[in-house]
Symmetry: C2
Subunit: 261 residues, 2 copies
Protein backbone atom coordinates (compact mmCIF):
# COMPACT_ATOMS: atom_id res chain seq x y z
CA UNK A 1 0.00 0.00 0.00
CA UNK A 2 1.08 3.61 -0.40
CA UNK A 3 1.03 4.18 3.34
CA UNK A 4 2.76 7.53 3.14
CA UNK A 5 -0.41 9.10 1.68
CA UNK A 6 -3.00 7.41 3.89
CA UNK A 7 -4.26 9.07 7.06
CA UNK A 8 -3.43 7.55 10.45
CA UNK A 9 -7.09 6.46 10.86
CA UNK A 10 -7.06 4.77 7.44
CA UNK A 11 -3.86 2.87 8.22
CA UNK A 12 -5.11 1.82 11.67
CA UNK A 13 -8.28 0.53 10.01
CA UNK A 14 -6.29 -1.55 7.49
CA UNK A 15 -4.16 -2.96 10.33
CA UNK A 16 -7.31 -3.75 12.36
CA UNK A 17 -8.76 -5.66 9.43
CA UNK A 18 -5.58 -7.72 9.09
CA UNK A 19 -4.58 -6.10 5.79
CA UNK A 20 -1.22 -4.82 7.06
CA UNK A 21 1.08 -6.60 9.51
CA UNK A 22 4.48 -5.17 8.54
CA UNK A 23 6.62 -2.45 10.12
CA UNK A 24 5.17 1.08 10.29
CA UNK A 25 8.35 2.94 9.25
CA UNK A 26 7.49 5.60 6.69
CA UNK A 27 3.71 5.19 7.03
CA UNK A 28 1.52 8.30 7.60
CA UNK A 29 4.44 10.65 7.11
CA UNK A 30 4.37 13.61 9.47
CA UNK A 31 2.34 11.88 12.19
CA UNK A 32 3.73 10.80 15.54
CA UNK A 33 4.33 7.08 16.03
CA UNK A 34 4.57 5.61 19.52
CA UNK A 35 6.03 2.76 21.55
CA UNK A 36 3.36 0.77 23.43
CA UNK A 37 3.63 -0.74 26.92
CA UNK A 38 0.64 -2.37 28.63
CA UNK A 39 0.90 -3.71 32.15
CA UNK A 40 -1.22 -4.52 35.23
CA UNK A 41 -2.60 -1.59 37.22
CA UNK A 42 -0.77 -2.84 40.32
CA UNK A 43 2.51 -1.82 38.65
CA UNK A 44 1.27 1.25 36.78
CA UNK A 45 2.37 3.81 39.37
CA UNK A 46 5.92 2.44 39.46
CA UNK A 47 6.19 2.32 35.67
CA UNK A 48 4.74 5.83 35.28
CA UNK A 49 7.25 6.99 37.87
CA UNK A 50 10.05 5.27 35.93
CA UNK A 51 9.02 7.19 32.81
CA UNK A 52 8.75 10.50 34.70
CA UNK A 53 12.22 9.96 36.18
CA UNK A 54 13.72 9.02 32.81
CA UNK A 55 11.96 11.34 30.37
CA UNK A 56 14.61 11.21 27.64
CA UNK A 57 14.39 7.46 26.93
CA UNK A 58 10.71 7.23 28.02
CA UNK A 59 8.84 10.40 26.96
CA UNK A 60 5.15 10.06 27.80
CA UNK A 61 2.72 10.79 24.96
CA UNK A 62 -0.39 9.26 26.53
CA UNK A 63 -1.37 7.13 29.53
CA UNK A 64 -4.83 5.57 29.54
CA UNK A 65 -7.16 4.83 32.44
CA UNK A 66 -7.20 1.14 33.52
CA UNK A 67 -9.22 -0.91 31.01
CA UNK A 68 -9.35 1.89 28.43
CA UNK A 69 -7.95 1.13 24.96
CA UNK A 70 -8.81 4.37 23.10
CA UNK A 71 -5.93 6.86 23.34
CA UNK A 72 -6.64 10.57 23.62
CA UNK A 73 -4.07 11.15 20.87
CA UNK A 74 -6.08 8.98 18.43
CA UNK A 75 -9.84 9.13 19.04
CA UNK A 76 -11.61 6.04 17.63
CA UNK A 77 -8.47 3.90 17.74
CA UNK A 78 -8.24 0.62 19.67
CA UNK A 79 -4.88 -0.38 21.12
CA UNK A 80 -5.96 -4.07 21.12
CA UNK A 81 -6.09 -4.25 17.32
CA UNK A 82 -4.48 -1.21 15.72
CA UNK A 83 -0.81 -2.17 15.87
CA UNK A 84 0.52 -4.65 13.29
CA UNK A 85 2.34 -6.84 15.78
CA UNK A 86 2.56 -7.24 19.56
CA UNK A 87 4.90 -8.99 21.96
CA UNK A 88 3.59 -10.81 25.02
CA UNK A 89 6.00 -11.12 27.95
CA UNK A 90 5.36 -13.49 30.85
CA UNK A 91 7.57 -13.28 33.95
CA UNK A 92 9.98 -11.05 32.00
CA UNK A 93 10.40 -13.53 29.13
CA UNK A 94 9.11 -13.12 25.58
CA UNK A 95 6.33 -15.70 25.33
CA UNK A 96 4.97 -15.00 21.83
CA UNK A 97 4.21 -12.46 19.09
CA UNK A 98 0.60 -11.88 18.02
CA UNK A 99 -1.28 -9.64 15.59
CA UNK A 100 -3.91 -8.50 18.06
CA UNK A 101 -4.43 -8.69 21.82
CA UNK A 102 -8.23 -8.99 21.97
CA UNK A 103 -7.96 -12.15 24.10
CA UNK A 104 -5.02 -10.99 26.22
CA UNK A 105 -5.96 -7.46 27.28
CA UNK A 106 -7.68 -7.32 30.67
CA UNK A 107 -9.77 -4.67 32.36
CA UNK A 108 -7.16 -4.06 35.06
CA UNK A 109 -4.42 -3.15 32.56
CA UNK A 110 -2.96 0.29 31.90
CA UNK A 111 -1.61 1.34 28.49
CA UNK A 112 1.33 3.71 27.99
CA UNK A 113 2.27 5.35 24.67
CA UNK A 114 5.85 6.65 24.58
CA UNK A 115 7.57 8.79 21.95
CA UNK A 116 9.84 7.22 19.33
CA UNK A 117 12.60 8.63 17.16
CA UNK A 118 10.79 8.61 13.79
CA UNK A 119 9.58 12.22 14.25
CA UNK A 120 12.97 13.71 14.92
CA UNK A 121 14.65 11.74 12.12
CA UNK A 122 12.25 13.41 9.72
CA UNK A 123 13.09 16.80 11.26
CA UNK A 124 16.82 16.11 10.87
CA UNK A 125 16.40 15.28 7.19
CA UNK A 126 14.28 18.38 6.62
CA UNK A 127 17.13 20.38 8.19
CA UNK A 128 19.47 18.88 5.59
CA UNK A 129 21.27 16.56 8.01
CA UNK A 130 21.94 13.09 6.54
CA UNK A 131 20.56 10.18 8.60
CA UNK A 132 22.83 7.25 7.79
CA UNK A 133 20.54 4.39 8.82
CA UNK A 134 17.83 5.76 6.53
CA UNK A 135 20.31 6.37 3.68
CA UNK A 136 21.50 2.77 3.96
CA UNK A 137 18.03 1.27 4.49
CA UNK A 138 19.01 -0.22 7.85
CA UNK A 139 17.71 -0.24 11.39
CA UNK A 140 19.38 2.38 13.56
CA UNK A 141 22.35 1.11 15.64
CA UNK A 142 21.44 0.74 19.32
CA UNK A 143 23.70 0.12 22.31
CA UNK A 144 23.26 -0.74 25.99
CA UNK A 145 25.27 1.88 27.93
CA UNK A 146 26.95 1.80 31.34
CA UNK A 147 24.63 4.58 32.53
CA UNK A 148 21.86 3.41 34.84
CA UNK A 149 18.36 4.82 34.51
CA UNK A 150 16.86 6.10 37.76
CA UNK A 151 14.94 3.06 39.03
CA UNK A 152 11.32 3.08 40.27
CA UNK A 153 9.85 0.15 42.15
CA UNK A 154 10.83 -3.07 40.34
CA UNK A 155 11.80 -1.23 37.14
CA UNK A 156 15.56 -0.87 36.79
CA UNK A 157 17.80 -1.02 33.70
CA UNK A 158 20.65 0.73 31.91
CA UNK A 159 20.06 3.51 29.41
CA UNK A 160 19.87 2.29 25.81
CA UNK A 161 20.96 4.75 23.12
CA UNK A 162 20.62 4.97 19.35
CA UNK A 163 23.57 6.30 17.31
CA UNK A 164 23.74 8.38 14.16
CA UNK A 165 27.15 9.34 12.73
CA UNK A 166 27.52 12.98 11.63
CA UNK A 167 30.04 15.64 10.79
CA UNK A 168 30.67 17.80 13.89
CA UNK A 169 28.85 20.84 12.49
CA UNK A 170 25.81 18.70 11.75
CA UNK A 171 26.01 17.25 15.27
CA UNK A 172 25.62 20.75 16.72
CA UNK A 173 22.74 21.55 14.38
CA UNK A 174 21.15 18.18 15.21
CA UNK A 175 21.30 19.04 18.92
CA UNK A 176 19.39 22.25 18.22
CA UNK A 177 16.81 20.61 15.95
CA UNK A 178 16.04 17.68 18.26
CA UNK A 179 15.80 19.89 21.37
CA UNK A 180 12.42 20.98 20.03
CA UNK A 181 11.25 17.36 19.98
CA UNK A 182 11.37 16.76 23.73
CA UNK A 183 8.58 14.16 23.50
CA UNK A 184 10.56 12.01 21.06
CA UNK A 185 13.81 11.77 23.04
CA UNK A 186 14.87 15.42 22.62
CA UNK A 187 18.50 16.50 22.40
CA UNK A 188 21.35 13.95 22.27
CA UNK A 189 22.58 12.48 25.56
CA UNK A 190 26.19 12.04 24.39
CA UNK A 191 28.49 12.54 21.42
CA UNK A 192 31.96 11.34 20.47
CA UNK A 193 33.85 9.19 23.02
CA UNK A 194 31.65 6.05 22.89
CA UNK A 195 33.85 4.28 25.49
CA UNK A 196 32.82 6.91 28.06
CA UNK A 197 29.33 5.41 28.08
CA UNK A 198 30.52 1.83 27.92
CA UNK A 199 30.37 1.21 24.17
CA UNK A 200 33.42 -0.82 23.10
CA UNK A 201 32.74 -1.36 19.40
CA UNK A 202 30.40 0.81 17.33
CA UNK A 203 30.36 -1.87 14.63
CA UNK A 204 28.68 -4.31 17.00
CA UNK A 205 25.45 -2.73 18.22
CA UNK A 206 23.37 -4.57 20.82
CA UNK A 207 20.22 -4.03 18.71
CA UNK A 208 19.66 -2.95 15.10
CA UNK A 209 22.30 -2.86 12.38
CA UNK A 210 25.81 -1.39 12.13
CA UNK A 211 26.05 1.60 9.75
CA UNK A 212 28.95 3.20 7.88
CA UNK A 213 30.89 5.83 9.87
CA UNK A 214 33.10 8.08 7.76
CA UNK A 215 36.47 9.28 9.06
CA UNK A 216 35.27 12.90 9.33
CA UNK A 217 32.23 11.94 11.43
CA UNK A 218 31.56 11.51 15.14
CA UNK A 219 28.91 9.26 16.68
CA UNK A 220 25.94 11.15 18.16
CA UNK A 221 23.83 9.31 20.73
CA UNK A 222 20.16 9.76 21.60
CA UNK A 223 18.20 8.10 24.40
CA UNK A 224 16.28 5.20 22.85
CA UNK A 225 12.77 3.83 23.43
CA UNK A 226 14.14 0.29 23.72
CA UNK A 227 15.04 1.39 27.26
CA UNK A 228 11.36 1.07 28.19
CA UNK A 229 11.31 -2.52 26.93
CA UNK A 230 14.37 -3.36 29.03
CA UNK A 231 12.77 -1.72 32.06
CA UNK A 232 9.62 -3.76 31.62
CA UNK A 233 11.56 -7.02 31.25
CA UNK A 234 13.66 -6.16 34.32
CA UNK A 235 10.56 -6.17 36.50
CA UNK A 236 9.58 -9.74 35.46
CA UNK A 237 5.86 -9.04 35.81
CA UNK A 238 3.38 -11.88 35.24
CA UNK A 239 2.14 -10.25 32.04
CA UNK A 240 3.30 -7.32 29.90
CA UNK A 241 2.32 -6.44 26.34
CA UNK A 242 4.42 -4.23 24.05
CA UNK A 243 4.54 -3.45 20.32
CA UNK A 244 6.97 -5.54 18.29
CA UNK A 245 10.08 -3.57 17.31
CA UNK A 246 9.33 -1.31 14.33
CA UNK A 247 5.60 -2.10 14.50
CA UNK A 248 4.47 1.07 16.22
CA UNK A 249 1.16 2.75 17.07
CA UNK A 250 0.35 5.56 14.61
CA UNK A 251 -1.35 8.49 16.37
CA UNK A 252 -3.35 11.43 15.02
CA UNK A 253 -0.81 13.86 16.47
CA UNK A 254 1.31 15.71 13.95
CA UNK A 255 5.04 15.86 14.57
CA UNK A 256 4.90 19.64 14.92
CA UNK A 257 2.11 19.44 17.54
CA UNK A 258 4.42 18.00 20.13
CA UNK A 259 7.41 20.26 19.75
CA UNK A 260 8.17 22.44 22.71
CA UNK A 261 8.62 25.64 20.73
CA UNK B 1 17.78 36.46 58.54
CA UNK B 2 19.57 37.31 55.31
CA UNK B 3 18.08 34.32 53.56
CA UNK B 4 19.19 35.41 50.13
CA UNK B 5 22.80 34.56 51.00
CA UNK B 6 22.22 31.27 52.85
CA UNK B 7 22.43 27.95 51.03
CA UNK B 8 19.30 25.82 50.60
CA UNK B 9 20.64 23.30 53.15
CA UNK B 10 21.29 26.07 55.69
CA UNK B 11 17.78 27.49 55.29
CA UNK B 12 16.18 24.04 55.53
CA UNK B 13 18.15 23.45 58.71
CA UNK B 14 16.90 26.73 60.26
CA UNK B 15 13.34 25.85 59.29
CA UNK B 16 13.73 22.33 60.75
CA UNK B 17 14.90 23.83 64.04
CA UNK B 18 11.87 26.11 64.18
CA UNK B 19 13.90 29.28 63.58
CA UNK B 20 12.02 30.29 60.43
CA UNK B 21 8.30 29.85 59.82
CA UNK B 22 7.60 32.63 57.31
CA UNK B 23 7.20 32.62 53.53
CA UNK B 24 10.17 31.48 51.42
CA UNK B 25 9.90 34.17 48.74
CA UNK B 26 13.36 35.58 48.00
CA UNK B 27 15.23 33.00 50.08
CA UNK B 28 18.19 31.10 48.53
CA UNK B 29 18.10 33.20 45.40
CA UNK B 30 18.78 31.17 42.27
CA UNK B 31 17.59 27.85 43.68
CA UNK B 32 14.39 26.10 42.62
CA UNK B 33 11.49 26.21 45.08
CA UNK B 34 8.69 23.67 44.88
CA UNK B 35 5.04 23.05 45.66
CA UNK B 36 4.48 20.01 47.89
CA UNK B 37 1.64 17.48 47.69
CA UNK B 38 1.61 14.36 49.88
CA UNK B 39 -1.16 11.78 49.55
CA UNK B 40 -1.89 8.08 50.16
CA UNK B 41 -0.22 5.58 47.81
CA UNK B 42 -3.67 4.30 46.76
CA UNK B 43 -4.21 7.59 44.92
CA UNK B 44 -0.63 8.19 43.80
CA UNK B 45 -1.00 6.73 40.31
CA UNK B 46 -4.05 8.89 39.58
CA UNK B 47 -2.39 12.05 40.88
CA UNK B 48 0.85 11.36 39.00
CA UNK B 49 -1.27 10.80 35.90
CA UNK B 50 -3.06 14.12 36.53
CA UNK B 51 0.32 15.88 36.66
CA UNK B 52 1.58 14.12 33.51
CA UNK B 53 -1.61 15.08 31.66
CA UNK B 54 -1.42 18.69 32.84
CA UNK B 55 2.30 19.46 32.78
CA UNK B 56 1.98 23.24 32.51
CA UNK B 57 0.15 23.79 35.83
CA UNK B 58 1.70 20.69 37.47
CA UNK B 59 5.33 20.27 36.31
CA UNK B 60 6.94 17.34 38.12
CA UNK B 61 10.28 18.07 39.78
CA UNK B 62 10.44 14.97 41.98
CA UNK B 63 8.23 12.08 43.10
CA UNK B 64 9.36 10.01 46.07
CA UNK B 65 8.87 6.31 46.77
CA UNK B 66 6.10 5.57 49.31
CA UNK B 67 7.32 6.37 52.83
CA UNK B 68 10.42 8.22 51.61
CA UNK B 69 10.83 11.84 52.74
CA UNK B 70 14.29 12.67 51.30
CA UNK B 71 13.94 14.17 47.80
CA UNK B 72 16.53 13.38 45.13
CA UNK B 73 16.69 17.11 44.36
CA UNK B 74 17.79 17.88 47.96
CA UNK B 75 19.88 15.08 49.53
CA UNK B 76 19.74 15.21 53.33
CA UNK B 77 16.46 17.11 53.41
CA UNK B 78 13.33 15.85 55.18
CA UNK B 79 9.94 16.80 53.76
CA UNK B 80 8.33 16.28 57.20
CA UNK B 81 10.20 19.19 58.77
CA UNK B 82 11.90 21.34 56.14
CA UNK B 83 9.00 23.50 55.00
CA UNK B 84 7.97 26.44 57.19
CA UNK B 85 4.25 25.68 57.11
CA UNK B 86 1.98 22.85 55.98
CA UNK B 87 -1.72 22.45 55.33
CA UNK B 88 -3.59 19.30 56.33
CA UNK B 89 -6.71 18.50 54.32
CA UNK B 90 -9.24 15.91 55.47
CA UNK B 91 -11.97 14.80 53.04
CA UNK B 92 -11.09 17.74 50.82
CA UNK B 93 -11.44 20.32 53.56
CA UNK B 94 -8.65 22.33 55.17
CA UNK B 95 -8.41 20.92 58.69
CA UNK B 96 -5.42 22.81 60.07
CA UNK B 97 -2.01 24.41 59.43
CA UNK B 98 1.08 23.02 61.16
CA UNK B 99 4.83 23.70 61.21
CA UNK B 100 5.89 20.09 60.76
CA UNK B 101 4.21 16.83 59.83
CA UNK B 102 6.26 14.38 61.91
CA UNK B 103 3.09 12.98 63.49
CA UNK B 104 0.95 13.08 60.36
CA UNK B 105 3.16 11.54 57.68
CA UNK B 106 2.59 7.82 57.23
CA UNK B 107 4.67 5.11 55.60
CA UNK B 108 2.10 4.57 52.83
CA UNK B 109 2.23 8.19 51.64
CA UNK B 110 3.79 9.47 48.42
CA UNK B 111 5.32 12.96 48.13
CA UNK B 112 5.26 15.08 44.98
CA UNK B 113 7.36 18.22 44.40
CA UNK B 114 6.02 20.43 41.61
CA UNK B 115 7.61 23.48 39.99
CA UNK B 116 6.60 27.00 41.02
CA UNK B 117 6.89 30.35 39.30
CA UNK B 118 9.65 31.90 41.42
CA UNK B 119 12.39 30.67 39.02
CA UNK B 120 10.91 32.16 35.92
CA UNK B 121 10.07 35.48 37.60
CA UNK B 122 13.77 35.83 38.35
CA UNK B 123 14.58 35.01 34.71
CA UNK B 124 12.06 37.64 33.52
CA UNK B 125 13.64 40.32 35.70
CA UNK B 126 17.13 39.36 34.52
CA UNK B 127 15.84 39.80 30.96
CA UNK B 128 14.80 43.33 31.88
CA UNK B 129 11.05 42.61 31.93
CA UNK B 130 9.26 44.30 34.85
CA UNK B 131 7.26 41.93 37.10
CA UNK B 132 4.48 44.05 38.54
CA UNK B 133 3.60 41.93 41.58
CA UNK B 134 7.25 42.05 42.70
CA UNK B 135 7.53 45.79 41.97
CA UNK B 136 4.43 46.41 44.10
CA UNK B 137 5.37 43.93 46.84
CA UNK B 138 2.17 41.95 46.33
CA UNK B 139 1.17 38.35 45.75
CA UNK B 140 0.69 37.59 42.07
CA UNK B 141 -2.94 37.81 40.83
CA UNK B 142 -4.45 34.36 40.27
CA UNK B 143 -7.73 33.41 38.55
CA UNK B 144 -9.81 30.26 38.13
CA UNK B 145 -10.39 29.88 34.38
CA UNK B 146 -13.16 28.22 32.38
CA UNK B 147 -10.63 25.75 30.93
CA UNK B 148 -10.83 22.28 32.42
CA UNK B 149 -7.67 20.34 33.21
CA UNK B 150 -7.61 16.81 31.78
CA UNK B 151 -8.95 14.74 34.69
CA UNK B 152 -7.36 11.55 36.05
CA UNK B 153 -9.21 9.27 38.45
CA UNK B 154 -10.87 11.41 41.12
CA UNK B 155 -8.73 14.46 40.32
CA UNK B 156 -10.62 17.05 38.29
CA UNK B 157 -10.53 20.84 38.36
CA UNK B 158 -10.29 23.95 36.19
CA UNK B 159 -6.95 25.45 35.19
CA UNK B 160 -5.79 28.22 37.53
CA UNK B 161 -3.60 30.94 36.00
CA UNK B 162 -1.36 33.67 37.32
CA UNK B 163 -1.32 37.05 35.54
CA UNK B 164 1.45 39.55 34.94
CA UNK B 165 0.66 42.74 32.96
CA UNK B 166 3.23 43.70 30.31
CA UNK B 167 3.76 45.83 27.25
CA UNK B 168 3.16 43.69 24.13
CA UNK B 169 6.85 43.56 23.15
CA UNK B 170 7.74 42.37 26.63
CA UNK B 171 4.98 39.76 26.41
CA UNK B 172 6.64 38.27 23.33
CA UNK B 173 10.06 38.31 24.99
CA UNK B 174 8.53 36.81 28.16
CA UNK B 175 7.13 33.93 26.08
CA UNK B 176 10.60 33.21 24.77
CA UNK B 177 12.30 33.47 28.16
CA UNK B 178 9.79 31.29 30.03
CA UNK B 179 9.75 28.60 27.30
CA UNK B 180 13.15 27.54 28.61
CA UNK B 181 11.64 27.00 32.07
CA UNK B 182 9.33 24.14 31.16
CA UNK B 183 9.54 22.69 34.69
CA UNK B 184 8.25 25.89 36.27
CA UNK B 185 5.13 26.36 34.11
CA UNK B 186 6.96 27.19 30.85
CA UNK B 187 5.50 29.55 28.26
CA UNK B 188 2.27 31.51 28.88
CA UNK B 189 -1.04 29.71 28.25
CA UNK B 190 -2.91 32.86 27.18
CA UNK B 191 -2.52 36.60 26.68
CA UNK B 192 -4.88 39.51 26.21
CA UNK B 193 -8.65 38.73 26.04
CA UNK B 194 -9.18 37.60 29.65
CA UNK B 195 -12.91 36.97 29.01
CA UNK B 196 -11.94 34.20 26.55
CA UNK B 197 -10.76 32.11 29.49
CA UNK B 198 -13.61 33.10 31.76
CA UNK B 199 -12.02 35.99 33.66
CA UNK B 200 -14.60 38.77 34.10
CA UNK B 201 -12.68 41.30 36.18
CA UNK B 202 -8.87 41.42 36.38
CA UNK B 203 -9.15 43.62 39.48
CA UNK B 204 -10.83 40.82 41.39
CA UNK B 205 -8.47 37.80 41.36
CA UNK B 206 -9.66 34.56 42.94
CA UNK B 207 -6.37 34.28 44.85
CA UNK B 208 -3.55 36.73 45.58
CA UNK B 209 -3.73 40.50 45.12
CA UNK B 210 -4.83 42.79 42.29
CA UNK B 211 -1.95 44.70 40.67
CA UNK B 212 -1.77 47.89 38.60
CA UNK B 213 -2.33 47.43 34.86
CA UNK B 214 -1.24 50.38 32.73
CA UNK B 215 -3.18 51.36 29.61
CA UNK B 216 -0.36 50.26 27.28
CA UNK B 217 -0.17 46.79 28.83
CA UNK B 218 -1.89 43.47 28.19
CA UNK B 219 -2.43 40.70 30.74
CA UNK B 220 -0.20 37.65 30.22
CA UNK B 221 -1.32 34.40 31.82
CA UNK B 222 0.76 31.45 33.00
CA UNK B 223 -0.49 28.11 34.30
CA UNK B 224 -0.35 28.24 38.09
CA UNK B 225 0.66 25.70 40.73
CA UNK B 226 -2.50 26.44 42.73
CA UNK B 227 -4.15 24.16 40.16
CA UNK B 228 -2.56 21.17 41.92
CA UNK B 229 -4.12 22.25 45.23
CA UNK B 230 -7.56 22.51 43.59
CA UNK B 231 -7.09 19.07 42.03
CA UNK B 232 -6.22 17.58 45.39
CA UNK B 233 -9.21 19.16 47.11
CA UNK B 234 -11.49 18.01 44.28
CA UNK B 235 -10.72 14.37 45.06
CA UNK B 236 -11.80 14.71 48.71
CA UNK B 237 -9.26 12.14 49.92
CA UNK B 238 -9.23 11.15 53.62
CA UNK B 239 -5.86 12.87 54.11
CA UNK B 240 -3.70 15.15 51.98
CA UNK B 241 -0.77 17.33 53.06
CA UNK B 242 0.44 20.36 51.08
CA UNK B 243 2.74 23.32 51.71
CA UNK B 244 0.99 26.49 52.88
CA UNK B 245 0.80 29.12 50.11
CA UNK B 246 4.15 30.92 49.78
CA UNK B 247 5.83 28.52 52.21
CA UNK B 248 7.62 26.35 49.67
CA UNK B 249 10.22 23.61 49.72
CA UNK B 250 13.70 24.94 48.79
CA UNK B 251 15.64 22.41 46.71
CA UNK B 252 19.36 22.15 45.88
CA UNK B 253 18.58 22.48 42.17
CA UNK B 254 19.71 25.71 40.57
CA UNK B 255 17.23 27.50 38.33
CA UNK B 256 19.46 26.99 35.29
CA UNK B 257 19.71 23.23 35.92
CA UNK B 258 16.12 22.65 34.97
CA UNK B 259 15.90 24.71 31.82
CA UNK B 260 15.27 22.75 28.64
CA UNK B 261 17.97 24.47 26.60
Amino acid sequence: MNGKELSPAEIRSLIRQGQWNGPTTGLASGFVQANLVILPKAHAFDFLLFCVRNPKPCPILDVLEPGNTEPSIAPGADLRTDLPKYRIYEQGTLAREVENIRDVFKEDMVSFLLGCSFSFEKALMEAGIPVRNIEEGKNVSMYITNRPCIPAGAFSCPLVVSMRPMQPGDAIRASQVTTRFHLTHGAPVHLGAPHEIGIKDLDRPDFGDPVTIHSNEIPVFWACGVTSQMAVVSAALPLVITHSPGHMFISDLKDEQMTLF
